[in-house]
Amino acid sequence: MSDRVVVLAGGLGSRLLPYRTVVPKPLLPVGNRSVLEVILGQLAAHGFCDVTLAVGGLAGLIRALLGDGTRDGVRLEYVEEYEPHGTAGVLGALDLDEPFLLMNGNVLTTLDYRALWDAHLASSNAMTIATHRREVVADFGVLRLGGDGTDPMVLDYVEKPSRTYDVSMGVYAIQPEVREYVAPGEVLGLPDLVNRLLADGQQVGSFAHDGLWLDMRRREDFELAQLGAGEIEPLLPSAKPEDVERAILSMPPAAANGA
């Protein structure tokens, strides 16, 4: 057993119509591979070889493509969600008693998963969230107003101001106890789980990543990934042949034969 990663590969990409009507979100392409294959190769390259895929609708397509994970250098297990339980709800269905990584199956990033993992284990965090800075531009001329409501004075005027936000990358290192905050079968999003942990006095930390991060569910990110696929691909570590070999050798014989 190596360190486990749970990859959320359910859900429908309604923001990417019409692509998602025929392609499950995590199988959206970047260059000549799906995002999910890129992620699995990266995880293997960082030594994360045990991956649980939480799959929803169109699970058959994902299984048909990825099989037992051998080709991508990982050992794959599948958990099927017949009804969507939200990004955190799936934790209620998993039997994990060691720390684990949880991540969206739609992120294209150069994040060092191992460094996130080590930082989490060295901390006393119940959860460590990988974060990225994003600048959002308001496409307006914006005024700062002062004085009373009916005749406000203009204090300044800024054309298309931008604000910087620290955003969640959708990659989390999590202590097993966190699962106690999710009831079995409960529908729960990750933001609600985080706020639930904080309300209970649990420590939640962050791990900043300033390299590439694209969330393929967002249309502009998806389009950016297509434009830059040729440049992006070499940046992404993928499974090395020895990782693949190691994964195959450690599998039960039946699985290695693709049964």
């Binding site: 969230i129 974060t131 994003r134 959002v136 308001a138 496409d139 307006f140 001329g141 914006v142 005024l143 700062r144 107003l145 409501g149 009916t150 005749d151 406000p152 004075m153 203009v154 204090l155 300044d156 005027y157 800024v158 054309e159 101001p161 604000r163 936000y165 620290d166 955003v167 969640s168 959708g170 999003g189 990750l190 933001p191 985080v194 706020n195 904080l198 420590q203 939640v204 930390g205 962050s206 791990f207 900043a208 969330d215 967002r218």
Partner: protein, 251 residues
């Protein structure tokens, strides 16, 4: 009677800024100036000119640049729209307000200045009357707009450099006081603009504030879309027929 009541009715004059390149709406705007972009059965500027006429404006000067001849051909002398129209053609781009000191007759009374690509049902006449009564150098029409940040946004501990998280807001909504691109100018405002030198509105506002002039906001709840923005343009096309009775009841 006091002498001032013997003077003729104060005229309402507007300068419409229609010279921009409309970069955000390319490629359409390579062949069509932005104010001629269609909404329903007519260009946006057609709607604006009819509205100005209905609100009692008698003289409109259209400042043109990019594809000026198309705008002049469409609106001509304004007779068809019930308002007298003339043109100021920029030979070089002067920014949003750089053309004003070169336009004749703006040294008498306060006047309206507006972008030629806003779809709104604001009462332009009331805005100008309010400005004249307030004594402000410039009045800026302001509309509250909300933007949804479609990301999971994290809040951190107050402590400098802290990596501890205090909260997680999924797709938060941020609101802004947005300039509607509609302003009233007193003649004093024009004195702060050098003739023939490029100047944009935000810099003029800063210049006036530095000179301790009175710049006011006029908060509006009116319908407002900025056709220069892709999202707003699509929304305008979608909503025009439903909004028509509020925008141009006469046409």
């Amino acid at each position: 009677l006091p002498a001032r009541n013997l003077t003729p009715l104060r005229t309402k004059r507007a300068v419409v800024l229609a010279g921009g390149l409309g970069r955000r709406l390319e490629p359409y705007t390579t062949v069509l100036p932005k104010p001629l972009m269609p909404i329903g059965d007519r260009p946006i500027l057609d709607i604006v000119i009819r509205q100005l006429a209905r609100h009692g404006f008698t003289h409109v000067t259209i400042a043109t640049g990019h594809l000026a001849e198309l705008i002049e051909a469409y609106f001509s002398d304004g007779a068809e729209f019930g308002v007298s129209i003339d043109y100021f053609r920029e030979s070089q781009p002067l920014g949003t307000v750089g053309a004003l000191p070169l336009i004749d007759g703006l040294d008498g009374e306060a006047f309206l200045v507006m972008n030629g690509d806003v779809l709104t049902d604001i009462d332009y006449g009331a805005l100008l009357s309010r400005h004249r009564a307030s004594g402000a150098t410039i009045t800026v029409a302001v509309k509250r707009r909300e933007i949804q940040i479609s990301l999971g946004v994290l809040r951190f501990d107050e402590a400098e450099g802290s990596q501890r998280i205090r909260g997680y807001d999924e797709k938060p909504v941020v609101s802004y006081d947005a300039s509607m691109g509609i302003y009233c100018f007193s003649p004093a405002a024009v004195k702060h603009i050098e003739p023939g030198v490029r100047l944009d509105f935000p810099e003029l506002v800063q210049r006036l504030l530095d000179a301790e002039e009175n710049v006011q906001g006029w908060q509006s709840d009116d319908y407002w879309l900025d056709i220069g923005r892709h999202d707003d343009y699509e929304q305008a096309i979608e909503e025009f027929e439903r909004m028509r009775h509020r925008l141009i009841p006469e046409a």
